[in-house]
């Protein structure tokens, strides 16, 4: 059965709230997708789809990658494919790795605290079900 859409007092639906939450984590997710090595744009989109629950519109990632590159967090290079056409691969710079580490620490600290706070909410739901 479909979840009922709950409208909050300020007119923001939970779906919209969840979308904003995901959007807030987008920059961190894009950096994290490159932690293990270089990827090109479409690979980053597919990596995020497969390894997180983030499905991006195709035009979204490229301007973000471009900005992260301008800010010195990413570097890029065109690589000729054996078959097909050249692709632009992105890698994390030292600054990007440091920033991502800092983001990951902040994320885990924040989510640990929040999880403790929210645990009783879900426990009550389980009991009532």
């Amino acid at each position: 059965m479909a979840k009922p859409r709950v409208q909050t007092a300020y007119g923001d639906s939970p779906d919209r709230w969840e979308a904003q939450l995901r959007k807030g984590a987008l920059e961190m997710a894009a950096l994290a997708s490159l932690w293990k090595g270089r990827l090109y744009g479409l690979e980053i989109i597919r990596f995020l789809e497969n390894n997180s629950s983030m499905t991006l519109a195709e035009g979204t990632i490229y301007p973000i990658l471009n900005r992260l590159k301008l800010e010195g967090m990413l570097t890029s290079e065109w690589v000729e494919a054996e078959a097909g056409h050249p692709r632009k691969y992105y890698s994390l710079t030292e600054i990007g790795q440091q920033r991502l580490r800092m983001m990951a620490e902040a994320w885990f600290d924040f989510s640990r605290g929040l999880s403790q706070l929210l645990e009783p909410v879900l426990e009550n739901q389980e009991i009532s079900q």
Binding site: A19, Q20, R22, K23, G24, L26, E27, Y40, G41, L42, M54, T55, L56, A57, E58, G59, T60, Y62, P63, I64, N66, R67, L70, E71, G84, H85, P86, R87, K88
Partner: protein, 193 residues
């Protein structure tokens, strides 16, 4: 518009709307988007025009790139002009941007005013400061011409200089950081999931 026209016009239109970027940056972006279109069409077996539709209109894609450029320039800059220009651009996108622009303008005016009065105080000590009347009620603050009169007394003296300088500088810094954070948040909000 026919399929061929859409496919042919997309890179031209994207290049056109990337106007403020350098030629090298524009060509790099068009080349990367071209590579994406080929990859995505091959992977999904979709026609190219469907991949282009998924990318969104070229003017919207170009606007995201231009905003990214503005944000990255603003994130390195302390110049109120650069930051207010970026905030003004944000103001064209909606009410959030209008608020950021006017609050930013307000923050800069207050901060600059305080720093300026702190610098003027040593040269015009009688005309600069914070005044209260004989009953302890606040009268005025800043630079006053003519001076507020014999019933008013200036309460801070030379302490006005470090206080105004500190509060003014903090106001300028807080405004700078707030505009930067707002620009970043705005780009996140506009991302399509």
């Amino acid at each position: 518009m026919t399929t061929e026209l859409v496919i042919d016009s997309y890179p031209t239109s994207l290049r056109h709307h990337l106007g403020p970027l350098t030629i090298a940056e524009r060509e790099e972006i068009v080349r990367e988007i071209g590579a994406h279109v080929r990859d995505s069409a091959e992977e999904s077996g979709s026609p190219v025009e469907r991949v282009l539709a998924r990318l969104g209109p070229p003017e919207d894609l170009a606007a995201l790139y231009r905003e990214g450029l503005l944000i990255s320039a603003a994130s390195r800059s302390f110049s109120p002009l650069v930051l207010l220009r970026a905030a003004l651009r944000l103001a064209t996108k909606g009410i959030f941007g209008v608020l950021v622009f006017f609050l930013g303008l307000f923050g800069y005016v207050i901060g600059a005013n305080l720093v300026l009065t702190a610098l003027v105080k040593p040269f015009l000590p009688e005309h600069t400061g914070v005044w209260f009347d004989g009953n302890g009620n606040f009268m005025s603050a800043g630079i006053q011409f003519p001076d507020p009169g014999s019933s008013a007394h200036e309460v801070l003296g030379l302490w006005f200089i470090p206080l105004a300088m500190t509060v003014g500088s903090l106001s300028l810094l807080a405004t700078t950081w707030s505009i930067r954070a707002s620009l970043r948040i705005s780009q996140q909000w506009r991302a399509k999931l």
